[in-house]
């Protein structure tokens, strides 16, 4: 199985957990693998990710689904978990 690296854009408040980097690379083929990869590479991100985050994949905001596929070309942003009123 080929490894698939994807680039993840974090919100800048998370730079404190990634050694000052706002753009990181992890190996992932879907949202679940991406989040696990982030925690593995940057353990300090775990509380934030555990508290709930959304992942924007090519502009579509994935609030919950861990199975959402991603490709090496996907534009990926980690954003705060959405909720509403």
């Amino acid at each position: 199985m080929l490894r698939q690296m994807v680039e993840v854009n974090l919100w800048s408040g998370l730079k404190a957990y990634t050694g000052g980097t706002q753009k990181v690379e992890v190996e992932a083929k879907n949202v679940g693998e991406l989040l696990r990869g982030l925690v593995q590479a940057y353990p300090d991100l775990e509380p934030t990710i555990e508290a709930g985050v959304s992942v924007a994949v090519d502009g579509r905001i994935i609030a919950s689904s861990l199975t959402e596929p991603i490709t090496p070309e996907s534009e990926i942003y980690l954003i705060q978990r959405l909720k509403g009123g």
């Binding site: 509380p47 579509r60 609030a63 534009e75 942003y77 959405l82 509403g84 009123g85």
Partner: protein, 749 residues
């Protein structure tokens, strides 16, 4: 998900305006709301609340209350689960204080008695000994070095070092180089803004009836936006399994985000377990104000640079949100929504979640976004005025569109902001003359919308009618919308379908009715469940005709051979297949369970005319137009109602509504006499324009509409009032004293 063909044409039921199925029950008083639930042997409960903003609880003596005739149970924090962590701990601490009362109105004990009067009398006999602590209720003061600490150690790791312990979460986002952008501007405007906390103002107070046995099995009937969440939270707080608590939602007399939160149900359950009888608990209006979630109050700094031609070169904002005595003020949404309407090369936003001695804030439609729009759109209006530019043209010049890199990071998919601005530009309101003393304001607004866990079941009856079960409480006419979408798919009349909001034992977990998600997510699930049923119907027809299932299509409510090669058979209507379903394979039920992730974001543009009396400071809204992208309006009347409701609530928020705290930290206006929501005579007829730019994430193109409508009003009204008064208003509400103070300050230089 690809949209289904041309989504704006060809609908037979979607887009029409049938009568709402709950209409007769609502207007005749037959509909059952939270306080209407009763049970044999039912007790009535009352909650003892702290009269202090911040106080150590030294002792609670319940002996006199327990000795009162008719009292059957008293509970304190000791009667709830122990060892909770995270948000469950926060909820429990808010539901029933442990060792410290954190705000005026914080629950400290509760009592159940055979009569409501007896319960209230008993509550007065519960003696609580307090040691007063210093308090703070203002967001800026709560961040100051000398502010009392609400709860040490509440901050998460996102908070930079050196900030006060009351700052519990921090957000920073953006892109580009704002300093470079500001240097390229012909004019830079900076200003600071404040907004007070407002309540959702739902007419029905929180109410529930609960029963919990010593075996851990329980029932709850309550008014809520999310009964599956009530089930989950109650199970955790009283220490039983979720599946043992069955929750049935009542009709709901308004929620607007305020009923996404659990306040009283665990208390009623704990009392019931102790008394071994059902317990009813109904909040008074004063309790609703003092102890349920208003919005966060805010303190905001905005700086925007613009060229003479109206191009925004840079924008930055600092957003401080006070969310009461617990973490959770939605400062990240405030920051992320603030500049979302605009395509910006250089943007930077910072958010602070600040604790204070106030009740735990709750969502109020589009949580956090209206306050951001108020500040940002006020500065844009000021820039337009100073550069003598047309406010709609400037917004069009800078508007986000498909492919724009959003201020919060990712690129937008298909969005409809430009279409709302063009529709506003073409609306006669924008060019109608203004009278003396009047001013006009416009504003854009943005909200994300949400999908979330959703399960729907659609069952056929033998007579060909259909029952839909959804798990999302109907807070805006969704039973009608679901029936319309199912009718569209099945090809049967709208009147042949009944939609029921099912209890927690009937369906899989459904997320709360929040995030403008119901018509999108439950609607998508209803369409998919109908298609599942259609597949089964086609299967029955194929079996009857002895042909392949693939050779059967569903058209106009009938199974038909797909073409001449499939055979020559008379179309089989749904009712005919349903009549024999028991003998052809059993009941036909369509299902769909998923977490739809394609909720499209939405934008709105509002136009407001306001008239200001400079002698008295009184403001009257004389004309109001809402233009919003709905993606696809399933029931246009309900969509228009959501638009109008957002505008009406925005008028109250902008002009009159505010939580007023005294020096003692106690809420001074916990009733509708002193907390003034708009009444009909305060409002003009609110005109609406539905823009339909289909959401690619829904089969019919639906976007949520319930929240975006409250994003622009604060700003649009502030711009109208400021233009009418000739002075910029930077603090909400723009009540007569504030307007007079602004005019005085201007006159005095």
């Amino acid at each position: 998900m690809a949209p289904d063909g041309n989504m704006t044409n060809g609908f037979k039921v979607v887009g029409t305006r049938p009568k709402r199925p709950d209409g007769i029950d609502k207007v005749t008083g037959r509909a059952k709301f939270g306080a209407d639930a009763t049970a044999p042997g039912m007790l009535h409960a009352s909650i003892v609340r702290s009269p202090h903003a911040h106080a150590k609880i030294l002792k609670i003596d319940t002996s006199k209350a327990e000795a009162l005739k008719g009292v059957k149970a008293v509970v304190t924090r000791a009667d709830f689960a122990e060892g909770l962590t995270g948000e469950n701990w926060n909820i429990l601490e808010n539901v029933m204080a442990s060792d410290t009362a954190l705000y005026d109105g914080h629950a400290v004990a509760a009592v159940a008695a055979t009569t409501a009067l007896g319960a209230r009398d008993a509550a007065k006999l519960i003696e609580v000994e307090y040691e007063l602590l210093p308090h703070v209720t203002d967001v800026d003061k709560a961040m100051a070095d000398d502010a009392p600490v609400i709860r040490a150690g509440a901050a998460d790791k996102s908070v930079p070092e050196g900030l006060h312990p009351n700052v519990v979460r921090y957000h920073e986002s953006g892109h580009g180089d704002v300093d470079k952008g500001f240097s390229e501007a012909d004019l830079v405007v900076e200003d600071s803004f404040k907004t007070e906390a407002t309540h959702q103002g739902y007419i029905e107070p929180h109410a529930c009836l609960a029963q919990l046995g010593s075996d851990g099995k329980g029932e709850v009937w309550c008014c809520t936006q999310g009964h599956f969440n009530v089930q989950k939270v109650c199970a955790a707080l009283v220490g039983t399994d979720s599946s043992q608590i069955r929750v049935t939602p009542s009709e709901i007399g308004g929620g607007f985000g305020g009923k996404t939160v659990v306040f009283i149900e665990p208390v009623a359950l704990a009392l019931s377990r102790k008394a071994n009888r059902p317990v009813k608990l109904v909040m008074s209006r004063s309790e609703v104000f003092r102890a349920t979630g208003p919005t966060a109050s805010t303190s905001i700094d905005i700086k925007i640079g613009m060229t003479r031609e109206g191009k925004i070169t840079a924008a930055q904002g600092v957003f401080r949100l006070q969310g009461g005595a617990f973490p959770g003020a939605p400062m990240e949404f405030t920051a992320m929504c603030a500049f979302a309407p605009y395509s910006l090369e250089n943007v930077h936003q910072v958010g602070y979640d600040v604790m204070s001695n106030r009740p735990k804030q709750a969502a109020y439609r589009a949580p956090g976004s209206p306050m951001a729009a108020f500040a940002v759109e006020s500065v844009i209006d000021e820039l337009c005025n100073k550069l003598d530019l047309d406010s709609i043209e400037v917004r069009l010049k800078n508007a986000s569109k498909e492919g724009t890199k959003a201020s919060y990071g990712p690129k937008f998919e298909r969005i409809g902001l430009v279409e709302t601005l063009e529709a506003a530009k073409a609306h006669p309101h924008l060019t109608s003359p203004l009278a003396e003393g009047q001013g006009r304001g416009v504003s854009c607004g943005f909200w994300f919308n949400h999908g979330g866990e959703t399960a729907v079941s659609l069952a056929l009856s033998e007579d060909g009618t259909v029952a839909i079960s959804v798990g999302t409480p109907d807070i805006g006419g969704s039973r009608a919308s679901m029936a319309q979408m199912a009718a569209e798919e099945l090809g049967i009349p709208y009147e042949s379908i009944r939609t029921t909001v099912a209890d927690t034992a009937t369906l899989g977990y459904n997320e709360i009715s929040h995030g403008s998600r119901v018509t999108y997510a439950s609607g998508l699930a209803t369409i998919k469940a109908a298609r599942d049923a259609v597949k089964k119907l086609c299967g029955r027809a194929a079996a009857k005709w002895g042909i392949d299932e693939d050779a059967v299509v569903w058209e106009d409510g009938c199974a038909k051979p797909s073409g001449p090669n499939a055979g020559d058979f008379e179309p089989l209507p749904l009712a005919k297949i349903a009549r024999s379903m028991g003998r052809t394979g059993g009941p036909i039920v369509g299902h769909y369970e998923a977490t739809p992730e394609g909720a499209g974001v939405s934008f709105a543009t509002h136009i407001v005319d306001a008239e200001v009396d400079k002698e008295t400071g009184q403001t009257k809204i004389v004309r109001y137009t809402v233009v919003q992208d709905a993606g696809k309006a399933i029931h246009p009347t309900y969509v228009e109602g959501q638009f109008q409701g957002g505008a009406a609530q925005g008028i109250g928020w902008a002009l009159n509504e505010e939580y007023i705290y005294g020096e003692d930290g106690r809420l001074q206006n916990s009733g509708f006499l002193d907390y003034r929501i708009p009444v009909a005579s305060d409002l003009p007829m609110i005109d609406t324009v539905i823009v339909e730019v289909p959401n690619p994430g829904h089969p019919y193109g639906v976007r949520g509409v319930g929240e975006t409508s409250i994003c622009p009003p604060l700003a649009a009204i502030a711009n109208a009032v400021s233009n009418a008064a000739g002075v910029r208003l930077t603090e909400l509400p723009m009540s007569p004293p504030r307007i007079l103070a602004a005019l005085d300050a201007q006159a005095n230089g």
